[in-house]
């Protein structure tokens, strides 16, 4: 039933609907994401994200590669935290083979994973305020991010694509030998001291960054109460990681999955109150601090010994299937590995965090103002390589 008066008002205020095209080449899309937005004045009626500009077909490629070759592929999915992407795959392969990596290798993996998390979160903390018009945090965050990338490079040889994991452990340094017990050359000389210095600097810049954000009226006005996502909505769309925790869910795969020795460390899992853009930003600041503390504790308590278990020269996994997931900086990254007993998988399902995180955008962007569009989708911290696979 519609009253005549209502009909008159809606007639008077009616604006013609337009289509606004954002991307695929837009500075705030972190790659090539295209948003087709139907807008009514300043309000968004409907958003249809168009993805696939960077689809590289990893699942198909994996079917013709051997297991060690796949590790090199996987760290290119999310290039911002490439190291963290390798972990669930090698752990899945190790569980199928029933190989246990030595404790020292597990600690090295943990340290590098947390460094990848810091580097990834710093990129977000640099670029997100930039999208909202604040340029200073960019320089603070990028300076310290470079220190962390230098540390990763000093161990693995690569800043973004380490390819450092081997099934059974981590790559032995040149000349170190797989099971060297006396001379450990797995971590470069001076690594511990460098790490301690870098972590102190990172912790200091976290405080500075927090000041820059918490004390910035404009940034608060643009992020507080904007893009509120309920925990139910997030879970139903598979939104994971810091984005899920910002909605008040205290859930971290580092606690529930035993893929790395996280049980040895006490760490706080921060949660947000409102699930808005501000909370999603602050989550990352807290997580960097926790990662720093974990790295410092890990280099104090790192066990000595071999860094790679005894594995056959040609890796063949027994027939079977396994799903392994891990907490990457962006959320749940997981691999469903189906082995038919060969040197490569019969099928590898790649579950990436950004894909699910972006899939919730059409729901969240319905009815918001155009300026909030950038604020909301920027706050999810996605990388298009991780969306498109």
């Amino acid at each position: 039933m519609m009253h005549l008066a209502d009909a008159a008002i809606s007639l008077e205020l009616e604006t013609p609907e337009m289509t606004l095209n954002v991307g695929p080449q837009h500075p705030s899309t972190h790659g090539v994401l295209r948003l087709k937005a139907r807008i009514d004045g300043e309000r968004i009626v409907e958003v249809d994200p168009v993805i696939g500009y960077m689809h590289r077909g990893y699942e198909k490629l994996a079917e013709v590669r051997t297991y060690p070759q796949i590790i090199a592929l996987l760290n290119r999915i999310d290039w911002v935290s490439g190291y963290a992407n390798e972990i669930p795959f090698v752990v899945a392969a190790e569980r199928l083979m029933e190989v246990e990596p030595p404790p020292r290798a597990q600690y090295i993996r943990l340290i590098l994973t947390e460094m990848a998390r810091i580097a990834s979160h710093f990129l977000f903390m640099a670029s997100y305020p930039m999208e909202l018009g604040a340029a200073s945090p960019f320089f603070f965050a990028f300076r310290e991010r470079e220190r962390v990338l230098d540390l990763i490079e000093s161990v693995t040889g690569g800043r973004f694509h380490p390819n450092f994991n081997r099934i059974g452990g981590v790559k032995p340094a040149a000349g170190a030998g797989a099971t060297t017990k006396t001379v450990i050359q797995d971590l470069p000389a001076g690594f511990y001291a460098e790490t301690r210095i870098a972590m102190d600097k990172v912790l200091a810049v976290c405080d500075e960054l927090e000041d820059l954000i918490v004390g910035n009226e404009i940034l608060l006005a643009r992020t507080k109460g904007v893009g509120v996502m309920s925990a139910e909505l997030a879970a139903s769309y598979g939104v994971s990681g810091p984005n899920l925790r910002a909605s008040g869910v205290e859930f971290d795969l580092r606690r529930t999955e035993d893929y790395l020795p996280y049980d040895d460390f006490d760490f706080w899992v921060p949660t947000g109150e409102n699930g808005d853009c501000y909370d999603r930003y602050v989550m990352r600041v807290h997580e960097i601090r926790e990662s720093c503390k974990m790295i410092l504790a890990a280099i104090d308590g790192i066990p000595s010994g071999p860094i790679i278990a005894k594995v056959p020269k040609v890796i063949k996994l027994p027939k079977g299937e396994i799903y392994m997931r891990a907490e990457s900086p962006k959320g749940e990254v997981g691999y469903y590995l189906v082995s038919e007993g060969g040197t490569g998988p019969y099928r590898l399902v790649v579950r990436t965090a950004s894909f699910s995180n972006v899939s919730v955008l059409p729901v969240l962007l319905e009815g918001v103002l155009i300026p909030d569009l950038i604020a909301i989708f920027g706050s999810f911290d996605f990388v298009l390589g991780d969306v498109d696979r």
């Binding site: 689809h55 699942e59 769309y237 598979g238 020269k313 997981g334 060969g342 919730v360």
Partner: protein, 191 residues
């Protein structure tokens, strides 16, 4: 749980108990594999949405992790074929999890290739929307009741379903792998 393979797990294992719990609550989901914190449960195709609805409401598995499919066939264009004879079919898999304890269940069902259709989960889990579009373009499986079943990654006009085992990998066709540099045969496995 007659056909459950308890892969080197004792019946007292916590996960095994959970698998029985899944069987009791859902009623028609048979745990077929219990391993690495994952319970894999088989349901019939016509009860697919029912099972996932029960998992969400009664088991508390509110987190939609992923959905995908496997093309089971002995006649493959890419990779190595399965060891033994497999029944020609699509296996559709959906993994759901909770967001408290880290429990997860992978539901699986068989879809015949000559009638490749299954009910859509998008009304139960919003996240299924994009995953089903992905499985639709990559395998050609039709998800009945999906709000807008169209291509996700591939451009309009692309023909074929690239993840099918009958779909050749073009780059491999042009230049066989390993490349001409690796002329030596692969060494045999030695443990």
């Amino acid at each position: 749980m007659s056909d459950a393979q308890s892969e080197s797990l004792s019946p007292h294992d916590d996960l095994f108990v959970y698998a029985e719990h899944v069987y009791d609550v859902v009623g028609f989901a048979d745990p077929v594999a219990v391993r690495n914190r994952t319970v894999k449960a088989f349901v019939k195709r016509d009860r697919w949405v029912d099972a996932l609805q029960k998992a969400k409401n009664d088991l508390g598995l509110v987190f939609f992790s992923w959905l995908s499919a496997i093309d089971w066939t002995n006649d493959v264009q890419v990779g190595d074929p399965p060891v033994g004879h497999v029944k020609e079919r699509f296996e559709v898999l959906a993994t759901v999890a909770d967001i408290t304890e880290g429990r997860r269940v992978t539901f699986t069902t068989d879809v015949p290739k000559d009638d490749a259709r299954i009910d859509s989960l998008s009304k139960v889990y919003g996240g299924a929307n994009w995953f089903e579009r992905g499985a639709f373009e990559m395998f050609g499986i039709e998800f009945v009741g999906h709000p807008s079943l169209r291509k996700l990654y591939l451009p309009e006009g692309f023909e074929g379903n690239p993840m099918l085992k009958s779909f050749p990998l073009l780059s491999r066709e042009i230049r066989p792998w390993p490349g001409s540099v690796d002329v030596e045969p692969m060494p045999e496995a030695s443990s």
